[in-house]
């Protein structure tokens, strides 16, 4: 029942989560901000100001952790760089405030760029380590350097003025910093939903699949890291204004811990969570500073650390999703109850909703299309696929019959094992080529080398005349080479339509900046529409709103094909697309592939189902033990004795009989 409700509730706003909720949330937050200075006590006001200041680096860190899947243990370093640069530009160079502020943010971003460029090339946790190191270097550098005032720091610069009004008390300062936090919040929220943000979430689910759809992971991560440092730098600018003296303690490690705690507590990757975390941690810090000395007489110094440590540990153990997760599941419980109640009251309307979506009202979740539908509807289904005008457009950059992919001398060695040995192969445009071979013959390794998932030991891969071997998968993908995976690579953090939408990545243009300013709605809706059309044509429209990971295996595979097709590739590589599909799904897919081929698409498929390949492919290549032993039209390959021996065993006659039998079945 709840799944049906979900499906019924899906709508455009479901794809761009809570647009209305966001606007309401931001408006409510703005109202709170406007009121706070009138109501809060002076000590609370002080906490509120620092919460707002630290919310900025926390937002940045949350973007880095949520989108880039990386953590910075030296966020305080960028905060400090912003603060010091701002203070120095004001005090030593007597620059106007806004210029100095821009300088502070730019300096932080530059530092991040320099660290990020080498570190983000490496996979794993290297960025965390490098930022940790940077944190200490910055702290020691400002302490030892005459220019930064050593342990005293930089002081003696003026307070900010806005329209001639000096910002000289906490209330005014709160209003001074608040618009920046609000704008930063909105920009960050926009970014998480933008083309770039969705691409980065996809990378966190499966880097390989995202790259194969044209996502340049490295470039996006460097940009997000730099942006995150920019937020920290801006926080530093306000910090410098507020405290009026920037000393080395701003760069101390426990500031980084504090920022990390804000993000972890708020919920990894949640921008709202980071802001909430900033307020809670500042309150906690202030509270503990009062509380601990009261309990333990004589306690001085950084006593609030005990709370930081405890909360950090407890959140990770008990509440890995942070406050965001708590609020989200509470909200889900409320809406579910409300939906159940309304469904009880008016079952007719709920049913009408289902019909209105135009899909067969099946058990939307939990099974393949029901047997009855598939049984008497096979032809109908095939017809639908063949005559469906909504099949994605196919771009054919080369004339039919011209080579689109040329593989030459392709070899992969693992130590002493040769997985693929000197394979040379040309794929002409506008054909379906089958690549077959026994288990472990090197088919998938070949695919991986062609698409850039792994680098060949030697040999070249030319796609549309350009050498792409050893480049990352997004290079080929941008040029129009897309693939599916034998081991499914589903973006599990989004729904089915979100997955297929990712296929549209290479067709989109909007970058991080446009994403942040929300100037890509039209583009996104157009792509979403296309994604839905493709799903409909493959009879997955009824599950478009479900979490991709919840689909049964066969439908996930179909979804991957949809995702690849959404990219409008010139060359489509399918790795065992038929495995796990039901009979009707196979038929539907085969029909689709034929009509795509007729429309000009070139397809290479690795398949175990020999009969299926022989029936479908225009030419067949056979790999055995990494060596290409045959290549030609299905008829000649079928009769090739070498193939029969290699593929079906040592006894040629028996093998032939088996092959016959297989084909008779088809």
């Amino acid at each position: 029942m709840s799944y049906l409700n979900k499906a019924a509730m899906r709508s455009k706003t479901g794809f761009w989560p809570n647009n209305r909720g966001t606007i309401l949330g931001v408006a409510a937050f703005a109202v709170v901000i406007a009121i706070i200075p009138f109501t809060a006590s002076s000590s609370m006001m002080n906490i509120a100001v620092f919460s707002m200041i630290f919310a900025l680096p926390a937002i940045g860190l949350s973007l880095l952790m949520g989108l880039a899947g990386q953590v910075s243990l030296g966020q305080a370093a960028f905060f400090a760089i912003g603060a010091y640069t701002h203070a120095i530009l004001l005090q030593k160079f007597e620059m106007p405030g806004p210029v100095a502020a821009v300088g502070g943010v730019a300096a932080a971003m530059l530092a991040a760029l320099l660290i990020g460029l080498p570190m983000l090339r490496l996979r794993g946790h290297y960025l965390a380590l490098a930022t940790l190191g940077l944190g200490f270097i910055v702290m020691i550098a400002v302490r030892e350097w005459e220019f930064t005032g050593r342990t005293t720091g930089i002081y003696g610069y003026g307070r900010p003025e806005v329209f001639g009004i000096p910002i000289d008390n906490n209330g005014l300062f709160f209003w001074f910093v608040a618009p920046f936090v609000l704008i930063g919040l909105v920009l960050a929220l926009n970014l998480t939903r933008s083309r770039a943000g969705r691409a980065l979430s996809a990378v966190n689910d499966s880097e390989l699949a995202a790259e194969s759809l044209g996502v340049n992971t490295y470039a996006l991560r460097v940009k997000v890291f730099t942006l995150s440092a920019g937020f920290a730098g801006l926080g530093g600018v306000f910090y410098a204004y507020q405290v009026q003296i920037v000393s080395p303690q701003v760069a101390e490690f426990h500031v980084s811990v504090e920022l990390l705690l804000m993000v972890v507590l708020g919920g990894l990757g949640s921008v709202w969570g980071a802001v909430a975390g900033a307020f809670i941690v500042e309150l906690l810090s202030e509270g503990l500073r009062d509380l601990i000395p009261a309990i333990i007489p004589g306690a001085t110094g950084e006593v609030q650390l005990i709370g930081y440590g405890l909360v950090l540990i407890l959140v990770i153990i008990l509440l890995p999703g942070g406050l965001y997760q708590v609020v989200k599941s509470a909200w889900a419980a409320i809406t579910r109850r409300r939906a159940d109640a309304s469904a009880k009251r008016s079952p007719v309307i709920a049913a009408a909703d289902d019909d209105g979506s135009g899909e067969v009202p099946t058990r939307a979740f939990g099974g393949l299309p029901s047997e009855t539908t598939a049984g008497d509807g096979l032809d109908e289904v095939a017809d639908a696929a063949a005559s469906d005008a909504r099949i994605p457009t196919v771009s054919t950059p080369v004339a039919a019959g011209e080579p689109i992919l040329e593989v030459s001398g392709l070899t992969k060695r693992y130590g002493g094992v040769v997985a693929v040995d000197d394979v040379t192969l040309t794929v002409p445009a506008g054909q379906i080529m089958g690549l077959i071979g026994p288990n472990g013959a090197g088919k998938t390794t070949c695919f991986n080398m062609i698409t850039g998932a792994i680098a060949p030991t030697s040999g070249t891969v030319r796609f549309l005349g350009e050498e792409i071997q050893g480049r990352k998968p997004h290079v080929g993908a941008e040029a129009g080479l897309t693939r599916t995976f034998q081991n499914l690579q589903v973006f599990s953090s989004t729904d089915v339509v979100g997955n297929v939408y990712m296929g549209r990545y290479r067709k989109g243009r909007a970058g991080i900046l446009r994403g942040m300013f929300g100037l890509q709605g039209r583009e996104q809706y157009a792509h979403e529409e296309i994604a839905r059309d493709i799903l409909d044509s493959m009879r997955l429209g009824d599950v478009a709103g479900l979490a991709a990971g919840d689909l049964p295996f066969g439908r996930q595979r179909m979804m991957e094909v949809c995702r690849a097709l959404a990219a409008e590739p010139a060359l489509l590589l399918l790795d065992e697309p038929m495995a796990g599909l039901s009979g009707s799904e196979r038929e539907l897919l085969a029909q689709l592939l034929r009509s795509l081929r007729d429309a000009g698409l070139t397809i290479v498929l690795v398949e175990h189902d020999v009969a299926q390949v022989m029936a479908l492919a225009d030419s067949v290549a056979v790999l055995d033990d990494g060596v290409l032993i045959a290549h030609g039209d299905p008829e000649s390959v079928r009769n090739d004795p070498a193939v029969i021996v290699a593929y079906l065993g040592t006894d040629a006659e028996e093998a032939e009989a088996e092959l016959k039998e297989l084909e008779d079945q088809s």
Binding site: V71, L73, I115, P118, M119, L122, G124, H125, Y126, A128, L129, A130, L132, G133, L134, F136, I137, I140, A141, R143, E144, F253, H254, V257, L260, V264, I292, I296, G298, A299, T300, G301, E302, V303, L305, I306, G307, Y308, G309, L310, V311, L312, I313, I316, I317, P320
Partner: protein
């Protein structure tokens, strides 16, 4: 020249502390893929604990023994109460988690022992002078601790059946089970070793380098830099890296400015990560990070 040698000796003794901490870090990383930021705090905890015991009137060896055992148990406790509680503990989460443990330990030490640095009495022995270079007996104790304890852990992991099974348990839990070690037991043993090694570093260094509540973080991170030099898997490369790090720090303190000493490790860290992320390991193929 005498200066140079004197700085080298100081660097070697300081490096031996980093080496012990690096050994502890690798001991847990190879088994559990956990980067334990709290490793250095074991050292300060043992240092401060033994100081209190000596102040209470216990003889030095007894105080040290009790401190070593308690910190070893504390490390096991941390494993059981914190590390083992997290499902799907990725290395990244482990860094954040143990950062929390480290912060908590430091805060507790601050509350118990206060903010001032404290010193354990020197171990017995007499200082010697070799060709004008004076070597304190405590420095020999530190190097000796590295040889005995660090070397012992290295031999245990590389030569004994149990040690090999322990290393294997991260990659092949099934194979390790066949030898009779469950992943949980392997993890406990690894943390016990890490606790003991860290505590050893803390007590031998306290008479010269003092113990202060916040000192563990920097110590641990330097041990970590050394461990990265060992590609996070090689004890030998990490020990060599740690000794080199100690020596370079000592030269920087002697010839440049003592204030910059602590930055050296992190410059090295960043340079190594950029140039050769596999560290000093000769066959980087073996490294899977």
């Amino acid at each position: 020249m005498i200066d140079f040698l004197q700085l080298t000796v100081a660097g070697l003794s300081q490096g031996s502390v980093y080496a012990l901490l690096a050994v502890g870090l690798i001991a847990t990383y190879t088994v559990r893929h956990v980067v334990n930021i709290a490793q250095g705090d074991y050292a300060t905890l043992a240092g401060l604990g033994s100081i209190s015991l000596v102040t209470a009137g216990l003889p030095l060896p007894v105080a040290i023994l009790i401190a070593l055992i308690s910190v070893t148990l504390a490390s096991v406790l941390i494993e059981r109460l914190v590390i083992a509680r997290v499902k799907n503990l990725t290395t990244l989460v482990s860094i954040i988690l143990t950062l929390g443990v480290s912060t908590l330990l430091q805060a507790i030490m601050l509350l118990i022992w206060g903010a001032e640095a404290k010193r354990l009495p020197a171990f017995p022995g007499s200082d010697l002078t070799l060709g004008g270079v004076s070597i304190r007996s405590q420095e020999l104790w530190m190097l000796g601790a590295l040889v005995v304890v660090g070397g012992g852990v290295l031999l245990f992991y590389e030569k004994t059946r149990w040690g090999k099974a322990l290393r294997a348990s991260a990659e092949q839990p099934v194979a390790a089970r066949i030898v009779g070690i469950s992943p949980a037991v392997a993890s406990v043993i690894a943390f016990a070793i890490a606790g003991f090694v860290g505590a050893t570093a803390g007590v031998v260094s306290s008479p010269i380098y003092l113990s202060i509540w916040s000192g563990g973080l920097l110590l641990g991170l330097k041990g970590f830099v050394a461990a990265v030099l060992g590609g996070l898997v090689s004890f030998r490369a990490a020990i060599v890296g740690a000794l080199l790090l100690g020596i370079i720090e000592s030269y920087v303190a002697g010839y440049v400015a003592s204030g910059w000493k602590d930055a050296v490790a992190f410059f090295i860290l960043i340079i190594v990560l950029i140039i050769r992320p596999a560290g000093l390991v000769l066959r980087p193929n073996a490294v899977r990070v």
